[in-house]
């Protein structure tokens, strides 16, 4: 019998397991597979705002009493950020920024996104700083187009130009063309040395250099420092198509920290149902070769994700089901209202607000507010009543709710 059983290895589950371990003896994590770290840009979005972030958050919580920030509280958000820093610092991932104001960061398409905290390898990309930006990338690589990025930035009034440099390893037979493959190349000092030698003569007064987020996987801190030293100007990373190298670094940092802290992470363990007795969860069941395995626990943190992560499944009749305990899912009544006719437009898709209803302790509750399972806490995207992409709250929501659920 564990003290705490965490289900799900997305960022919410990982952070909840870390926070829980600080006070509990036995913490175990069960998961089907890896979560949304690998499709995340790498920065931490809390709330999109052009002004004071703290003030915007306070106002937001007042106006949206069912939002995860209102349930968990802004203090939990601060707690989550501090806990994340504890996990990441030993891995050389240092987050810069605070809850005062948002960075403005370029995307691979040359758009501008906001984020409150960023890994230091992203920070000099902040577009609030003046100066010409040089966007550089390996020539012919399918996942990053420096000219498209720079041209789109330039037409928004941001001085930017583009170059590409040859990476001979890309023409080799065994080349792995994914961002992870490129990042492993940049773990090698020789690759960095050659790339820097090709970029340096083209600096021509540029104040900083933006590269796709492939600057090392195992030795990213060293890779970034090394390139910066060789170029003598600040260097920053720009997120690429998945798999996200910054997301993989984050996952690896969690894995190392949790294993060191004695938290067992069991992959390929899909919980098919929870065991319930008298409004309390007794444990979780996982199919096994001989018979179903039961993992008993005093407390369960459900961080199985939403419709993308797999914590909620949907069928063609429009039925939504929470996969472990069959908890009630809030959603628009009519399936035809789930999505807008325009895919990427100004209107938000109503389905994003689908999810579980919870109280301030993040216990699952019914429509009347009655607690459904006393010793279960909900963390991350499984919660309803918020829309991370349109609010710019993707990372803030898991930081706050994971911390609250595990505290």
């Amino acid at each position: 019998m564990d003290d705490v059983l965490v289900i799900g290895a997305g960022p919410a589950g990982l952070l909840a397991a870390w926070v829980a371990r600080r006070t509990q003896a036995r913490v175990r994590l069960l998961t089907t597979g890896i979560g949304t770290t690998h499709v995340s840009p790498g920065w931490l979005s809390i709330l999109d705002t052009d002004g004071d972030l703290q003030a915007a958050l306070d106002g937001w919580v007042l106006r949206h009493p069912a939002h995860p920030y209102a349930l968990a509280g802004v203090e939990a958000l601060r707690g989550g950020i501090a806990a994340l820093r504890e996990v990441c610092a030993p891995a050389g991932i240092n987050y810069l920024g605070d809850l005062q104001s948002n960075f403005r960061l370029p995307t691979a398409l040359g758009a501008v996104k906001q984020a409150a905290l960023v890994p230091e390898t992203f920070a000099s990309g902040d577009l609030r700083q003046p100066g010409e930006i040089l966007i550089a990338g390996p020539a012919g690589w399918r996942d990053f187009y420096p000219a498209l990025c720079a041209e789109n930035l330039a037409r928004q009034g941001i001085p930017a130009r583009a170059i590409s440099f040859d990476l001979p390893e890309m023409h080799a037979g065994q080349f792995d063309p994914t961002p992870a493959g490129l990042a492993r190349l940049f773990d090698q000092p020789g690759v960095r040395e050659r790339s820097a030698a090709l970029i340096r003569p083209q600096l021509a007064g540029a104040s900083r250099v933006g590269l796709p987020a492939i600057l090392g996987l195992e030795h990213s801190h060293e890779a970034w420092h090394d390139l910066q030293d060789r170029l003598s100007v600040p260097v920053f990373e720009i997120p690429t198509l998945p798999p996200s190298v910054p997301g993989m670094r984050l996952y690896n940092a969690f894995k190392t920290a949790l294993e060191r802290a004695g938290v067992q992470i069991l992959l390929d363990m899909t919980v098919t149902h929870g065991l319930v007795e008298d409004h309390r969860a007794r444990g979780a069941a996982v199919p096994g070769s001989v018979r179903e395995m039961i993992f008993g626990a005093e407390r369960i943190i459900l961080a199985t994700g939403g419709l993308y992560g797999g914590g909620i499944v949907s069928d063609y009749r429009g039925c939504l089901r929470e996969t472990v305990f069959g908890l009630p899912v809030m959603a628009p009544d009519n399936m035809s209202e789930w999505f807008d006719d325009r895919f990427i437009g100004s209107a938000d898709h109503a389905i994003h607000r689908a999810g579980l209803r919870a109280n301030q302790a993040l216990q699952p509750v019914d429509a009347a507010g009655q607690v459904l399972l006393e010793n279960v806490r909900i963390a991350g995207r499984l919660l309803g009543d918020y829309s991370p992409l349109s609010e710019g709250s993707t990372e803030g929501a898991w930081l706050a709710t994971a911390y609250r659920a595990a505290s």
Partner: protein
């Protein structure tokens, strides 16, 4: 006055292409005119079924006889487009058991070889069938790839000296002295209009035939009926399945290529351009599919689309399923006093050749041409020669450059095993832009050059029709940004145009996914949104709504001299 063409055929579907080929084989100078790409209308939105005629044996024996006769002819003349799956008619527990005997004798009366087999044998050959099936009959149904068929027709027309003008819309017909003289065409890409003279005009515009006939003052009332189809991610079976009952919704399942297509519905359509799919239609199709193949509704549905049947009955008023599936050939000389104009409308893809023959007979009669129809014997070229395109898939090998010059028809390169072989040979996985459909960077560059005179808001969808870009399970989530980046990098589109092309393509793929968003497709859509919105920030960019012309690109990929907006004069030539 000598005319440029003996006949202009309007409509780039199977019927129009069939008429143009028939006339070209009789020695006439023909131009096939289509307002968009070939197969853009009903021919490209159909079920993929080569009818045995069994479906119509009871309710519409004339159509049934036409189907079985043409079925046998098409197997001979278009073998490359047809997969001989055979078909089964099944009496499931949901079907009236009394219907089967009536159906069987109707098939015999129509000359359709229907043979009863034991349910055990049916289940042995198709284990996914509903085990509660009560009776099973074999019929000579098949699967037909209409894109390949119409491509083959177009290749044949061109080889006989005919013209195929895509993206040319007919905006007017010129009638003088009781005879049709010319058509006014608008080049949809350049916006320019031309007069094209011809001795005769065949209106094969399908659901749009009424609009064309009206341009010559002839009333033709087509009753469009919309049918929705859903492609599932698996074949399930290797035989076409039909319910043995009175024709209804969702009672035919056609395995074609890597997918199975379930259909259809039948909804009267006011406007033939309205091909939206309703949620109830998809649910109905999946529930009906479940009766043929248990577990069907739980499988992944890939895409939904609708086609518009051009139902027509001279003097009739029946709608939808009650309307006959036969066709009509209208000689507007005797009917409306406009000589030289013939409308062919109604029918089915299976009977396109017969429709074409009847229309061509009237044209020849009008022109005094005494040549017999040859389409029953003329075997169509294979649009996918097995080896010819392998080298074009890859320019990045050392010797690839010289082989990559002129693809005969890039859009026919649809067969994944060919692509896989080319990719394996090159060992250049980094050049794969669309991983689902194995589309390489070289192919994108080549195809973009061929479309150089186009407009940004079409370009990626045109590449899709050429190369199948973005048609796999991820529905362009990954390849859209890559393809837009390649267009920009090769100089075919500036950043604004490339971004607009990306936004436009994302929205076009959305249309096909939108009715199927549950289960894995819903998860895929959320991942794609995370990429477009979360990682790339597409929503933050001010993408202009109006498209701008692409910059001209010369063959070596360098920018041409013509600045945007100063396009070279477009002349009438093959696109």
């Amino acid at each position: 006055m000598a005319q440029e063409f003996d006949t202009i055929v309007i409509g780039g579907g199977a019927t129009g292409a069939g008429v143009a080929l028939d006339l070209a084989l009789r020695g006439l100078r023909v131009a096939l005119v289509e307002r968009a790409d070939l197969c853009n209308g009903t021919s490209g939105r159909y079920h993929g079924l080569l009818h045995s005629g069994g479906r119509y044996a009871v309710t519409d024996p004339e159509s049934a006889r036409e189907c079985i006769t043409e079925n046998q002819i098409l197997r001979h003349i278009a073998p490359a487009s047809i997969e001989d799956t055979g078909g089964l008619f099944l009496t499931t527990p949901d079907d009236d058991p009394a219907y089967a005997d009536k159906w069987l004798s109707a098939c015999q009366a129509c000359g359709i070889q229907a043979e009863e087999i034991s349910v055990a044998r049916a289940l042995q050959s198709e284990p996914a069938l509903n085990p509660r099936t009560q009776r099973a009959f074999r019929v000579p149904d098949g699967a037909c790839d209409s894109f390949d068929l119409v491509d083959a027709l177009a290749v044949a027309i061109r080889s006989l000296g005919g013209s195929v003008l895509t993206y040319h819309e007919v905006t007017g017909l010129e009638v003088a002295g009781g005879r049709v003289r010319a058509a006014t065409l608008r080049n949809v890409r350049s916006g320019e209009s031309h007069r094209l003279g011809a001795a005769t005009i065949v209106n094969a515009a399908g659901a749009w035939a009424g609009e064309i006939a009206r341009m010559a003052g002839c009333p033709v009332i087509v009753r469009p009926s919309k049918g929705t189809l859903v492609a599932m991610a698996y074949r399930f079976v290797n035989t076409v399945l039909n319910r043995c009952h009175r024709p209804g919704d969702g009672d035919i399942l056609v395995p074609i290529g890597t997918v199975a297509v379930i259909g259809t519905t039948s909804v009267p359509a006011e406007d033939p351009n309205e091909t939206g799919v309703q949620a109830w239609e998809v649910q109905k199709l999946l529930e009906e599919g479940e009766k043929l193949v248990p577990g069907f509704s739980q499988a992944r549905a890939l895409r939904a689309w609708a086609g518009v049947r051009p139902l027509y009955e001279e003097g009739g008023a029946a709608l939808g399923r009650e309307a006959k599936r036969t066709f009509a050939v209208l000689d507007h000389a005797s009917r409306d006093g406009v000589a030289g104009l013939v409308t062919v409308v109604g029918g089915k893809l299976t009977t396109y050749r017969l429709m074409a023959e009847r229309a061509a007979d009237i044209v020849c009669q009008d022109l005094g041409v005494d040549k017999p129809c040859r389409t029953k014997e003329f075997v169509l070229p294979d649009p996918v020669p097995p080896i010819a395109h392998r080298k074009t898939a890859n320019v990045s090998t050392a010797d690839g450059g010289s082989d990559s010059t002129q693809p005969t028809a890039p859009r026919t390169y649809h067969v994944l095993p060919h692509r896989l072989a080319a990719v394996e040979e090159s060992q250049a996985a980094d050049s794969l832009i669309c991983e689902c459909e194995l589309v390489t960077r070289a192919q994108i560059e080549q195809s973009a050059r061929a479309h150089g005179g186009g407009q940004a808001h079409w370009i990626l969808d045109d590449l899709r029709r050429d190369l199948r870009l973005g048609m796999g399970p991820c529905q362009a989530g990954f390849c859209n940004y890559r393809a837009a980046g390649v267009l920009n990098a090769m100089g075919a589109a500036d950043a604004t145009q490339a971004t607009q092309a990306l936004a436009d393509f994302a929205q076009r793929r959305w249309k096909g996914q939108r009715p199927l968003l549950w289960g894995q497709n819903l998860r895929q859509a959320l991942l794609d949104e995370q990429i477009y919105r979360g990682v790339l920030g597409l929503a933050e960019l001010d993408v202009p709504l109006r498209s701008t012309p692409l910059r001209p690109v010369t063959n070596d990929g360098a920018l041409g001299d013509n600045p945007p907006g100063d396009e070279p004069q477009t002349t009438l030539s093959e696109v």
